[in-house]
């Protein structure tokens, strides 16, 4: 059992390293030009944001529509700090500051609202994110509605790649531990979960806070990669764009979130040449996929080396 888990973990590590080297090679040989690199980075940032949202929605069953608000906190922490401390240290520090503020904000938002159910929670978290945005819109340090420009670029694709790996490991391991079992129990039946000693408020908040923290990381990367941010980048529609990735991939499937982020990223890049028609095609694609695959591309399927190894073992034995 343990040995197989070690093997599986080793395989994952291998995948991460090979992926890194492969992209590096493609960049080096010029197969990946700046256009495609831009697409890869966008996909990476969306994965960071959407896996955190999937933890909240798919695993803890709390319908949050305010993810862009926490992303904004990370983005502005990085934007503001990098303007005074434009160093790698400043960048790392700004990510940490963003995470801390996002955690505090998530606790302030989560404690009163997480007892709301379903759509009421969605609308309350959406409202909270809008309040964050309006506040940023009216502050001096954030330069109001105009936003921040010329943010130094530290979030190159290797940085984004590494952080995609790190946040995914954190979220997936969280979801497959004591905490993960508690939040999934609450998702399936809150009354029964409480009856077996699970404190719903505490665990819902834990998932919400972790999701918010990773959203802040995504925001930091976004700010330092795009180099320009404005409050309008973090509105309701941006939260919804992340929700679309989660639902399209399959609520509760992290593999699905990866797949959906990649599919939508590629689709977006391919459709660039269609001009105004782009969003029409995107909308139709979205409706068609939902109508024909109502539980998302992968449903609740999760790819796992451990399972693959197990299956091989069984087949060998048979």
């Amino acid at each position: 059992m343990t040995k197989k888990k070690l093997q599986a973990n080793g395989l994952w590590l291998l995948v991460m390293i090979v992926g890194y080297l492969a992209i590096n090679l493609l960049v080096y040989t010029g197969v990946v030009d700046s256009f495609i690199e831009n697409m890869l980075v966008t996909i990476g940032i969306n994965i960071i944001l959407a896996t955190g949202l999937n933890l909240i929605i798919g695993f803890s069953g709390q319908f949050s529509l305010g993810h862009a608000g926490f992303m904004a906190i990370g983005a502005y922490a990085t934007g503001i700090i990098l303007q005074t401390v434009p160093t790698v240290g400043g960048f790392v520090g700004s990510i940490v500051v963003g995470i801390i503020i996002a955690i505090i904000a998530a606790i302030i938002v989560g404690v009163p609202t997480l007892r709301l159910s379903g759509d009421y929670l969605a609308i309350a978290t959406m409202g909270a994110a809008e309040i964050i945005r309006v506040v940023i819109n009216n502050m001096k340090i954030t330069n109001g509605a105009a936003g921040l420009f010329n943010i130094p670029q530290f979030a190159t694709w290797p940085v984004v790649y590494v952080l995609v790996c790190v946040t995914t490991i954190v979220i997936v391991n969280f979801a497959h531990s004591r905490a993960g079992r508690a939040i999934q129990a609450i998702r399936d039946d809150e009354i029964a979960a409480e009856a077996v000693g699970v404190n719903p408020t505490k665990w819902k908040l834990a998932a919400f806070v972790l999701g918010a923290a990773t959203a802040a990381i995504g925001g930091s990367l976004h700010a330092s990669y795009i180099q320009t941010i404005a409050p309008s980048d973090f509105g309701i529609m941006n939260s919804i764009a992340l929700l679309i990735i989660v639902v399209l991939g399959g609520v509760g499937s992290m593999t699905g979130t990866f797949l959906a982020a990649i599919v939508l990223g590629v689709l977006d890049t391919v459709l660039q040449s269609f001009g105004t028609l782009r969003m029409v095609i995107y909308a139709v694609a979205l409706i068609v996929i939902m109508v024909f695959k109502p539980s998302g591309l992968l449903g609740r399927y999760e790819f796992s080396f451990a399972h693959v190894l197990n299956r091989h073992k069984k087949e060998d034995a048979a």
Partner: protein, 292 residues
């Protein structure tokens, strides 16, 4: 005192638009538990229909309003038939994403076909301002208020007094049980979409007259505000939606009047969250406790 009264008049005008929109949200939610994200875009369709028919055929306000209501009613029923009906038994979040897809489709489809620019809504009713006791009120504001109230009274009559209204209430309580006593839920749901969309279409024409400008993205923000109004009122509750709409309208104009217009959206959401913390199902919503 005068300014306060003035703001109340302005707030009620804006609020009646939100209320008309919120009614559509709340009816659809009440019956199939779907946040119909495309509802604000149906309102946009109504405004564009009014723009088109007034410019092209020089019809008067009543014709523009009624025809817009008919057109949007059919648009709403068509959207329900094509996009939502196939998902009747799917997870609710899937239907929500589809609704967002429909919203994107309507916004961008209109931009693609007719251009994304803002255009002036034809002033089919000449604006007059009346002053009484130092308060300004325009005939358009009166028209909006009166039309909205007439429509709400009609809606209440339809829901409470007609056979279809009874069927709607039955399906909202229990779709399967309603089907067992001979109600066709598909018809009722379709009718509900038609009714809600007609109100949105009317709101579209009214806002065109009031603000004098329309564009394909005009439904986004009022759509979300109206949804917030429906939630504040207690989603699923028809009178709640009307109250919520007026409340949000008054709040927005009030915050603007005291010089905090930059914070008017934040104020709406603060009130939303406070109301939900105190009353988790809104002002008039039923707080159904799960049976153990």
């Amino acid at each position: 005192m005068h300014t306060a009264m003035q703001q109340i008049i302005n707030g009620l005008s804006l609020g009646s638009i939100y209320a008309l929109l919120a009614l559509g949200y709340t009816m659809v939610y009440g019956i199939i538990k779907l946040i119909n994200f495309a509802h604000g875009d149906v309102y946009m369709l109504g405004a564009f229909w009014g723009y088109f028919i007034i410019n092209k055929y020089h019809v008067d306000f009543i014709v523009a309003l009624l025809s817009a209501m008919i057109v949007t009613a059919f648009a709403g029923m068509l959207i329900e038939y094509l996009a939502y009906r196939p998902l009747r038994n799917s997870p609710r979040i899937t239907a929500l994403i589809t609704a967002i897809g429909v919203s994107y489709f309507l916004e961008n489809g209109m931009s693609y076909l007719f251009g994304a620019n803002t255009r002036n809504f034809p002033q089919v009713v000449k604006q007059h301002n009346y002053t009484a006791f130092g308060i300004n009120i325009s005939n358009i504001q009166l028209l909006i208020l009166v039309t909205a109230i007439i429509l709400m009274v009609l809606l209440q009559l339809i829901i409470q007094k007609t056979k279809m209204g009874t069927a709607m209430r039955a399906v909202a309580v229990d779709q399967e049980a309603a089907a067992l006593v001979g109600i066709n839920p598909d018809h009722v749901i379709s009718f509900t979409f038609g009714l809600g969309s007609a109100l949105a279409g009317a709101a579209g024409v009214l806002i065109g007259l009031y603000y004098n400008s329309i564009d394909p993205l005009m439904g986004m923000t009022p759509g979300i505000k109206a949804f917030v109004a429906a939630v504040v009122g207690g989603i699923g509750s028809v009178p709640g939606a009307a109250i919520g709409g007026f409340l949000i309208g008054l709040l927005e104009t009030g915050v603007q009047a005291i010089g905090l217009s930059a914070y008017k959206d934040a104020a709406v959401y603060v009130v939303l969250i406070l109301i939900l913390i105190v009353l988790p199902s809104g002002l008039l919503g039923k707080n159904v406790k799960e049976k153990v």
